[in-house]
């Protein structure tokens, strides 16, 4: 069985020791080196050409995210698995965009880490399950509008355009020479026709339909 060579990049010495103990106990994994900042990491990667880099996002002098491109350049064939505390999808997006192959949370390290390492080594992507859902939410289908923008009355369109641009009800009333109550009525009716439930949904709708270009 081929032994996969792993480089640990983490600023926490005790954690590195624990990881080395855990990974070396696996017959197919072997830790060949450690680094605690991105500069030594890049040197180590170039010298050792590991199969996999286990990378923390917070390093002694700077960001692990910023280090990913240079690590990839130093060893184009090495796989990069991010191991971090951060569970915000923003970090996941940026790590994947920079060239990482997987994303594991430290709090799940004991249960998932080894499986994740093997998956990434096989050439697959691994992302912590709780994060995948949030990443994919963007792709969920949006409910289409009940009726199109053109079916709205002139007044409703005027009011909604101003609501979407962020004007207050008082400002809209002043601008269109209406009472705030009437503005509210036009707004509610227009939103109902479009099947929108909130101002944010209206802004998104306006954006999707190019309605926010300056009048």
């Amino acid at each position: 069985m081929p032994v996969n060579r792993i480089l640990l990049v983490d600023d926490h010495a005790v954690l590195r020791a624990g990881l080395r103990l855990l990974l070396d106990a696996q017959s197919d994994l072997h830790v060949v080196g450690e680094a605690e900042d991105s500069r030594t990491a890049a040197m180590q990667v170039a010298a050792l050409q590991p199969d996999l880099i286990l990378l923390d996002l917070s390093l002694t002098n700077g960001s692990g995210l910023a280090a990913i491109p240079s690590l990839r350049a130093a060893a184009p064939h090495a796989r990069i698995l991010v191991l971090t505390m951060h569970d915000d999808e923003g970090y996941v997006r940026q790590a994947l965009a920079a060239g990482a192959h997987g994303y594991v949370l430290k709090r799940a390290a004991d249960a998932e880490l080894i499986a994740a390492i093997r998956a990434v080594l096989r050439g697959e992507m691994y992302i912590h399950p709780a994060l995948t859902r949030r990443l994919l939410e963007d792709l969920l289908p949006q409910t289409p509008p009940v009726s199109p923008w053109e079916s709205l009355s002139e007044r409703e369109r005027e009011v909604l355009a101003l609501v979407a641009r962020g004007y207050t009800a008082a400002e809209i009333a002043a601008q269109l020479n209406l009472s705030p109550k009437t503005v509210e009525t036009y707004r509610t009716r227009g939103m109902e026709k479009l099947g929108l439930r909130s101002r944010a949904a209206l802004v998104q709708f306006a954006l999707d339909h190019n309605l926010l270009t300056p009048a």
């Binding site: 005790v14 954690l15 995210l65 923003g90 430290k106 249960a111 009800a169 439930r197 909130s198 926010l212």
Partner: protein, 494 residues
């Protein structure tokens, strides 16, 4: 009762007049007084002079006519007695030539027949009877109004009436010419006096009203909040004293305003420092939890896993798994705590990512539907103080929605318009009356207002009971700050 009605009417008139007079400015009032006085004096003097002159000239003309008539009578005595008609005629002609004002002269003999007269064509009818003198009278004068003007007709008996009567008519045309000339002279003098008076009055009112108008300007400026204006002191009179008093008041107000502004600035700086220190402290603790405590716990977790891997005893493995569960839970809680204190996303990835994360947590925690739209924040960075303020504001606003609104849907919009950033947090809940908000009470909405004000922004609340609530928070965006933060690279870690 009647007097009461009259006094009532008088009062009404007085008010009506005062409404007209009171409405015009001081210049018009003074000019009116001067003009009125001059014209009144001029007209009165003219009328008086005309009357006097008229009287004097008339008397003079009468005396003149008497003198001429007596002269004619004296010189006509012999001629009449001798019945020398030609002599009489020459006498009358000479008299007329010597007195240009003499309209006519004629002589009547003792029988009452006209024996000589100066009328070329014919003797006018009615003239004869106009003035009948009796022989014991010295003379008799009558003022006749003829179609050629007034005429003094004087009759004098000749030789005590035994030889007839001499009559002369003296025209008053010269009198009228003189009166007209004097009147027009007086009127011209009056108009010139009025012109001089008006010029003098205009100058006077300018001198009087200039300082008053200046004081009005000063007062307006003070009312408008401009305490830097001072009025110039023109004269040493009451207006000068008023000017001094108003200037002193402006000084005092300016001083008070300066002190107030200083205090306000100090307070704002103080609050800004407190907020910054609080954020710094939270950030430090969150980092500490993340970097040391969590890493140590992760090491523990991994160590436990290794321990379990190396030992086959099921008893031990079960105990180790329990421990791993506990450590995992503690790690999770610690992480949540650190994020609550201050999410590292806010510093590392910016406002949009932090709000997305916070909203996701709120959805999971409260079951509320929360829509989010941040069309203009495509991962770009804003001024850190602004990002922190907006994050805290959204946090407080959403907390209020969850706690007070009983809403089903909330919405957060952050957009940019005309160099300003606007965050709009809206819910469809029960609403409240923003006017009833206490200025000193709860920290929530007042805190939002305060945070906004410290960054030159402001908060608008639109809400009514039963109608949902919308908070608008608006900040100015500095163009330079926008650019410099937009291209700063992301960074993670310490």
């Amino acid at each position: 009762m009647n007097t009461m009605r009259v006094s009532h009417r008088l009062k009404r008139w007085a008010t009506a007049i005062w409404q007209v007079i009171g409405a015009v400015n001081i210049r018009a009032k003074i000019l009116g007084i001067v003009l009125g006085l001059v014209v009144l004096m001029g007209v009165a003097a003219t009328i008086e002079v005309r009357l006097l002159l008229d009287q004097t000239l008339t008397t003079q003309a009468r005396e003149h006519s008497v003198a001429v008539a007596r002269d004619v009578a004296a010189r006509a005595t012999d001629l009449t007695l001798m019945r020398d008609y030609y002599g009489l005629f020459r006498l009358l002609r000479d008299t007329q030539a010597n007195n240009p004002d003499l309209r006519y002269a004629f002589v009547i003999d003792s029988e009452g027949a006209i024996i000589a007269h100066t009328f070329g064509a014919g003797f006018p009818a009615g003239l004869y009877d106009a003035n009948i003198v009796t022989s014991n009278e010295h003379h008799r004068s009558v003022l006749l109004a003829t179609d050629e003007g007034d005429v003094w007709d004087t009759a004098v008996p000749i030789f005590d009436g035994r030889a007839g009567v001499a009559r002369v008519g003296l025209s008053l045309a010269a009198r009228e010419q003189t009166v007209a000339a004097v009147t027009s002279q007086l009127l011209i003098t009056t108009i010139m006096a009025a012109a001089i008076g008006i010029t003098a009055a205009a100058l006077l009112t300018w001198i009087l009203t200039r300082p008053i108008l200046q004081l009005v300007e000063l007062t307006k400026a003070v009312t408008g909040g401009d305490f830097s204006r001072r009025a110039q002191r023109w004269a040493d009179d009451e207006i000068g004293a008023l000017t001094d008093a108003l200037n002193a008041m402006s000084d005092a107000l300016a001083q008070a305003e300066r002190e107030r502004a200083e205090r306000e600035q100090m307070r704002a700086q103080y609050v800004t420092r407190i907020i910054a220190a609080q954020e710094e402290e939270r950030k430090r603790i969150a980092r500490e939890l993340h970097d040391s405590t969590s890493q140590a716990l992760t090491s523990l977790l991994i160590g436990l896993r290794s321990l379990a891997d190396r030992h086959r005893s099921p008893d031990l493995r079960r105990q180790v798994d329990d421990l791993r569960g506990i450590v995992g839970q503690v790690l999770h809680d610690l992480h949540a705590l650190a994020r609550q204190l201050r999410p590292s996303v806010l510093d590392d990835l910016g406002l949009a990512a932090a709000i997305q994360r916070y909203v996701a947590d709120c959805r999971a925690r409260s079951g509320l539907t929360i829509d989010l739209a941040m069309p203009d924040l495509n991962g770009e960075r804003l001024d850190p103080a602004l990002e922190t303020a907006l994050y805290r504001i959204v946090q407080e606003a959403l907390t209020n929605v969850i706690r007070h609104a009983h809403a089903t849907t909330a919405s957060i919009v952050i957009e940019r318009r005309d160099g300003r950033l606007r965050a709009i947090i809206e819910d469809n809940g029960c609403g409240f009356d923003p006017a009833a908000l206490r200025g000193d009470g709860d920290l929530g909405l007042n805190g939002i207002r305060e945070r906004a004000a410290l960054l030159n922004g402001h908060l608008i609340i639109e809400s009514a009971p039963g109608n949902g609530t919308t908070l608008y928070v608006e900040f100015p965006l500095l163009a330079s700050a926008e650019e410099s933060y937009a291209c700063e690279p992301y960074s993670v870690g310490r």
